[in-house]
Amino acid sequence: MSGQIASAAASFQRMAANPGLLPETAKSAGMRLVRPVRSRARKAPFVVVILTVLSIGLVGLIVMSTILQAQSFEAEALNRRAAVLDTQQQALAREVDQLQSPANVARRAIQFGMVPNTNPAFLRLADGKVLGKPEAAKPGSSNIRSVTP
């Protein structure tokens, strides 16, 4: 038995040194060729999954960055519009300020022939009593006849 093993080992060495000898010596040593081991998993689905994930990611990234880019343009346009509206609001607020300034109101009132009253008098609503000495303000009696700008 041990002699058989020794001769098989020797023939294996020979076989390694000279591959041309393989079939006969291997057979004689009780060896035979086997089919190469093949993995049971098939490659195609895996590749498809990976490619799909990658392409979805890539497309998603492109879509997202395009959307963001487009939105950044839109944001900038809206910002510009907000700034324009802001200055417009300021301009209008200023116009309102000027129109309702005491100087403007007084000027308009004087144009209408109104006269500032310098005789304060009050009507007490509780009992209808007049406090102070009411007197009609007469044109010319007023001390403000025109408004200096």
Binding site: R94, S101, A103, F122, G132
Partner: protein
């Protein structure tokens, strides 16, 4: 060894040397970039890919007592140009700017700027409201002209123009308050600029989701004053008219709420307009109400009488023998009208404004006593109104008084005051003998200026309630038909007042100038329950103007308006009849 093997080994060595050489160069460069100039390169990299912009913080608003804006900030633009681009089209651009921006543009000056040789940057015009500047920029781009740019800034506007200009003050080119409330509350009003840094593409487009840092700007806090805008406007206008009609050098009008010592109106004429930048000369921008010292004249008699009444030395019916004239320390003193020996009551002395009568009465107190009372009334000390550049006035120490000093100070000459000091002192008489410090700001901070209240100091008693009432009765005689200022009386109300016609001191020589006066009127109403005190000063009016004839009508109008606006109804009590002679 075969020849082929030797060859390939040599080739390997050469390759190795080349590779080591190349990597060595890389290593050295890497060491240089990472080890030696790391921060400089990092900064360059950041610089290339980031954009930084400052967000200017708007200055806080100054509000009136009802929250109406007296000063506010708006967006402004500074227009700049690249002369290399604009030189050829300068006249077209200058014409558009002149059309759109109006008188602030000088056409020829603009052409010079647009043609500045060897320059790629010039300032064209600063501080333009954004809405106006944008119109100009749009017109320029519509005309297909290039080379004009803009820079953001914030702009200070005063919607009322001249309204309360001396009280509000103004800011300098660097945006710092340099007068009035703008200066005193500069810290509150100034905001903190923000900034934003973000990554940009080589074309300048912001990269979404890239790193960005934003420092929020903090807008300045507002300041709420005690001024009533409409009353202020009326007083400004009325005073300006009076100054013009009397051809005075300047005029002042101050109205104070005697209960709270809040200044509700403070006018000066002539004044300036910081909104348009007109009239910005020192004589207009100085706040004369607190910075100008002058001799007040007869309005000071009220203080002398209050001091005497507090010591129980005078009542409104105290008989006083008024001589026809006096000479003290070789200094002849008379009254403004010729008279023989008169028998006036103390009220009569005030009503007729007799200098001689006041001297006789004041001689009942020593120099030191009188000096102490004047100090108690706050003369020679700042009024506490807390406005920049305030003056102390001049009150000589009582120890150094001559007889003439004692005599003249009793009727308001030889003592220099500010209008605000006078308002505070007579305010004590109106407030039943308690004097408080006038204030112009009620609260500060926050968007509405109401974050922190500015506490008012409690008033301190300077004379007794009775003394104040006595002087009030004397002052009511002034506005009576036989007093010196019937023009100051307001129908239906009891009005206490006092005229003043003081000799003017020539600041150069320190001597009085004949024929030049400072006329004034100080009064409060309703005399039976004082609410407002108004002080009018007209400096150097035409030569025969007097406090009763020139200043009293202005007092009447402003006081009437104040009573009306604040709804102060008259009590209906009759004016007390006070005998002026005995």
């Amino acid at each position: 060894m075969s020849e082929g093997k030797v060859k390939s080994r040599r080739r390997l060595r050469v390759c190795l040397a080349v590779v080591i050489g190349v990597f060595g160069v890389f290593g050295i460069r890497l060491f240089q970039i990472q080890g030696l100039d790391a921060s400089a390169y990092a900064a360059m990299a950041v610089e290339a890919g980031t954009a930084k912009s400052t967000v200017p913080a708007p200055r806080g608003a100054i509000l009136d007592r009802n929250g109406v804006e007296l000063a506010s900030s708006v967006d402004g633009l500074t227009l700049t140009a690249d002369p290399k681009m604009t030189a050829a089209v300068a006249p077209q651009i200058a014409r558009i700017l002149r059309q759109k921006l109006g008188s602030r543009i000088d056409y020829f000056d603009m052409i010079d700027k647009l043609r500045t040789p060897d320059s790629r940057f010039v300032y064209l015009v600063r501080d333009v409201p954004a809405w106006t500047a944008n119109k100009a920029l749009k017109a320029i781009s519509d005309a297909k002209l290039t080379g004009v740019f803009s820079e953001k800034e914030t702009l200070r506007t005063y919607p009322g123009g001249k309204l309360a200009a001396n009280l509000l003050g103004y800011i300098n080119g660097a945006g710092k308050g340099v007068a009035g409330v703008e200066q005193k509350y500069d810290k509150t009003l100034t905001g903190t600029d923000g900034s934003s840094t973000y990554e940009v593409s080589p074309t300048g487009q912001r990269i979404p989701m890239a790193d960005s840092t934003v420092t929020e700007m903090v807008p300045g806090g507002s300041v709420k004053t005690t001024i009533d805008r409409d009353l202020q406007w009326y007083a400004d206008q009325r005073l300006a008219d009076a100054v013009r009609e009397s051809s005075s050098d300047f005029g002042l009008a101050i109205t104070m709420d005697t209960k709270t010592c809040q200044i509700v109106q403070m006018s000066q004429a002539p004044t300036f307009d910081a909104d348009t930048g007109t009239g910005m000369v020192d004589s207009n921008t100085v706040s004369r109400g607190v910075q100008n010292v002058y001799e007040p004249g007869s309005t000071m008699k009220t203080i002398t009488m209050a001091a005497l009444a507090d010591q129980g030395k005078v009542a409104s019916d105290t008989p006083i023998v008024v001589p026809s004239g006096m000479t003290i320390d070789k200094f002849p003193i008379g009254d403004y009208w010729e008279h023989g020996t008169l028998h006036l009551t103390a009220a009569g002395v005030i009503a007729k404004s007799s200098n001689l009568g006041t001297i006789v009465a004041a001689q009942q107190m020593s120099n030191q006593t009188m000096y102490d009372y004047f100090r108690r009334f706050g003369f020679g000390q700042m009024s506490g109104v807390n406005l920049p550049g305030e003056s102390d006035g001049i009150l000589k120490n009582g120890k150094d008084w001559t007889k003439a000093n004692h005599a003249t100070i009793s009727f308001g000459q030889g003592i220099s005051v500010t209008a605000m000091q006078m308002v505070r002192a007579v305010g004590a008489i109106a407030n039943a003998g308690k004097m408080c410090e006038p204030s112009v700001v009620s609260s500060a901070g926050g968007a509405d200026g109401e974050k922190a209240e500015i506490p008012s100091k409690p008033g301190k008693r300077v004379v007794s309630k009775d003394a104040a009432a006595t002087v009030t009765r004397m002052m009511e005689a002034v506005t009576a038909p036989d007093g010196t200022a019937p023009a100051a009386s307001i129908k239906g109300y009891r009005v206490a007042g006092k005229t003043g016609t003081a000799w003017r001191v020539d600041p150069a020589t320190g001597r009085y100038i004949r024929g030049q006066n400072t006329v004034s009127f100080m009064g409060f109403a309703p005399a039976d329950n004082p609410r407002f005190l108004t002080y009018i000063v007209l400096d150097k009016p035409y030569s025969n103007a007097g406090g009763g004839s020139t200043a009293a009508p202005v007092f009447h109008d402003i006081m009437s308006m104040a009573l009306e606006r604040f709804g102060v109804a008259p009590s209906g009590a009759k004016n007390p009849k006070v005998d002026q002679t005995w």
